[in-house]
């Protein structure tokens, strides 16, 4: 019974923790401009992240070690450093977007400028990362993040014309948009679904929670049930925007527009659920990216790391996270728009995807680390298909960003 409860909790946490500021904004932007014609990208991204997170989780469970420790050992210091530099910078950008996102959610509730909330959000992230236990911070934010289910409920409360909404699921470029913009947002959506930090966090979290071979079933359930249901939240955010905002030609540029459909569907109660869900999801993602910044650096340099150790025993790990939070707060205090940071972070994530996912594929096929638990033929075949997609997305991202003026 206890095991079943733990499994259910893991799945619920995976659902609630799936969405972050990148998913919130990108899905709403896409829904308000392209309707549901890009849902296939979210589905593709969810399959991809589930596939690779399962691999990273399996590596952690079998070897007892996290991704970056093995990447450096397996690929050598130089290749590992290139990987680390790109991953850390993208992660820092995502962390900045998440902390800014927390400030924007608080602005929605209070009407007070996000500039005032940014330092408080940064301080809150640091205190929680410093003081809270790993499972507590993961479960609390994941479960409260389930408030985002209000977007799924809203889709039904809005009573859309299903006959009109259904055909939108067929991939096509809407008459009001051009092809390059469509593909730019396809890549952004793919980057948002497959954000690299999710894999670092998942694999390092496995070490934090002391996964073993016996945990493989739990890992699989979290990934194969939790992530797709999390993806459903992403699709419902896009659907809400497609039902309410697209017909009024409101293309989303701010978080305050993302919640309009929910308010229209269920008034202040629905708004309250949405705000709790968004605050938890974005704050949770801020914690995850902060931890990921510490994980990547500490694991590469072989420093003592992890929340399972007291901060004094992993001082450099905590110092990296503190410096990361300070940088993120300072960047946001320059007045840069957190939504713009979010939009860029998902596209740059797409660019850096191969650097994260190629090493995972190599390590999870390594007999020395994985023994009998290395990838099977089907997993490898699917992974290679996704790797090809990831490479195409990575190569096309910058040219499309230049041509479209970042999706204008």
């Amino acid at each position: 019974m206890k095991k079943l409860l733990s499994l259910a909790l893991g799945i619920l946490t995976a659902i609630g923790g799936f969405v972050d500021i990148g998913d919130l904004v990108t899905n709403a932007v896409v829904g308000s401009r392209f309707g549901l014609t890009l849902v296939w990208v979210t589905v593709l991204g969810v399959v991809g992240i589930a596939l690779y997170a399962n691999m990273a989780g399996r590596v952690a469970a079998v070897s007892g070690r996290a991704t970056f420790e093995i990447i450096r050992e397996r690929l050598g210091a130089r290749a590992g450093l290139a990987n680390l530099a790109a991953s850390f910078l993208i992660n820092l950008m995502t962390m900045t977007a998440e902390i800014g996102g927390v400030a924007l959610v608080f602005q929605l509730v209070t009407g007070i400028s996000p500039m005032l909330w940014i330092p408080l959000a940064g301080f809150g992230v640091w205190v929680v990362v410093w003081r809270a236990k790993f499972t507590a911070l993961e479960n609390a934010t994941g479960l409260l993040g389930l408030g985002l289910m209000v977007f799924v409920v809203a889709v039904f409360l809005l009573k859309p014309d299903w006959g009109q909404l259904g055909p939108q699921l067929i991939p096509r470029i809407p008459a009001t948009e051009d092809g390059t913009t469509y593909w730019y947002y396809a890549i952004a959506l793919f980057g948002a679904a497959m954000t690299p930090y999710e894999v670092f966090f998942f694999s390092s979290g496995g070490v934090e929670e002391k996964w073993t071979v016996k945990s493989l079933g739990e890992v699989k359930a979290n990934v194969l049930v939790g992530f797709p249901l999390g993806g459903l939240l992403s699709i419902s955010i896009a659907a809400c925007a497609a039902i309410v905002l697209l017909p009024q030609a409101i293309s989303v540029t701010s978080l305050s527009q993302v919640v309009i459909p929910v308010i229209q569907a269920g008034g202040t109660i629905a708004f309250a659920f949405a705000v709790v869900g968004m605050a938890a999801a974005v704050f949770g993602a801020a914690l995850e990216t902060t931890l990921s910044s510490g994980y990547t650096i500490a694991q590469y340099f072989g420093w003592s790391w992890g929340k399972f150790r007291r901060p004094a025993e992993a001082a450099r790990f905590h110092l990296v996270m503190l410096i990361g939070v300070i940088i993120a707060v300072l960047v946001l205090l320059t007045g840069v728009d957190p939504i713009a940071v979010t939009e860029f972070s998902v596209v740059f994530s797409a660019i850096a995807l191969p650097l994260t996912y190629i090493p995972i594929l190599i390590v999870s096929n390594d007999k020395q680390y994985m023994g009998e638990f290395r990838n099977g033929r089907l997993t490898n075949a699917l992974s290679l298909v996704f790797l090809a997609i990831i490479l195409v997305a990575s190569i096309a991202a910058i040219p499309l960003m230049v041509i479209t003026g970042a999706g204008q």
Binding site: Q107, L108, V109, T110, G111, T180, V244, L245, Q248, A249, I250, S251, T253, S254, S256, Q257, V259, I260, I263, Q264, G267, T268, F271, P399, V402, I403, G405, Q408
Partner: protein, 139 residues
């Protein structure tokens, strides 16, 4: 002598620059008008939700602030645009006027919201300002 990679890079950059330069002044005016129309339309939608008792003041106040940022950005973009030709110049003028009217309507709405209420007249003004901006998107 250049190696093949730098040559390739030069060609790629050239193609990208050519593609980005494709949109003319009329397209850019339409783009700014579209940006402003979306902002005004969302302010109008928020006003109606507030009037229906569905939305709270802080959320609508934030929505108005965000809309104002978009309007200001569109207005700056339009003002800086070097339109050439009769059609583009007329479009630019029409769009600028529409953005200024939309800004006035939004400011009036913000003042009302600060007093805790939004009138039907304000909602109507925001909708008609959004409609004028929509019209300004095309020549």
């Amino acid at each position: 002598m250049m190696t093949s990679w730098p040559k390739f890079a030069v060609v790629v950059v050239g193609v990208l620059l050519a593609l980005t330069a494709c949109s003319g002044p009329a397209d850019q005016v339409a783009q700014f008008a579209k940006q402003a129309a979306a902002a005004e339309q969302s302010a109008a939608a928020g006003t109606e939700l507030f009037r229906a008792g569905k939305a709270l003041q802080p959320e609508i106040s934030t929505l108005f602030q965000d809309s104002m940022k978009e309007l200001t950005s569109a207005q700056q973009g339009l003002a800086q645009l070097q339109a050439t030709g009769q059609e583009a110049t007329t479009m630019q003028h029409t769009a600028l006027t529409a953005v200024r009217n939309a800004t006035d309507a939004l400011l009036a709405a913000q003042r009302e919201l600060d007093r805790g209420a939004l009138s039907a007249h304000t909602a109507k003004e925001l909708r008609s300002a959004a409609a004028a901006l929509k019209k300004a998107e095309s020549p």
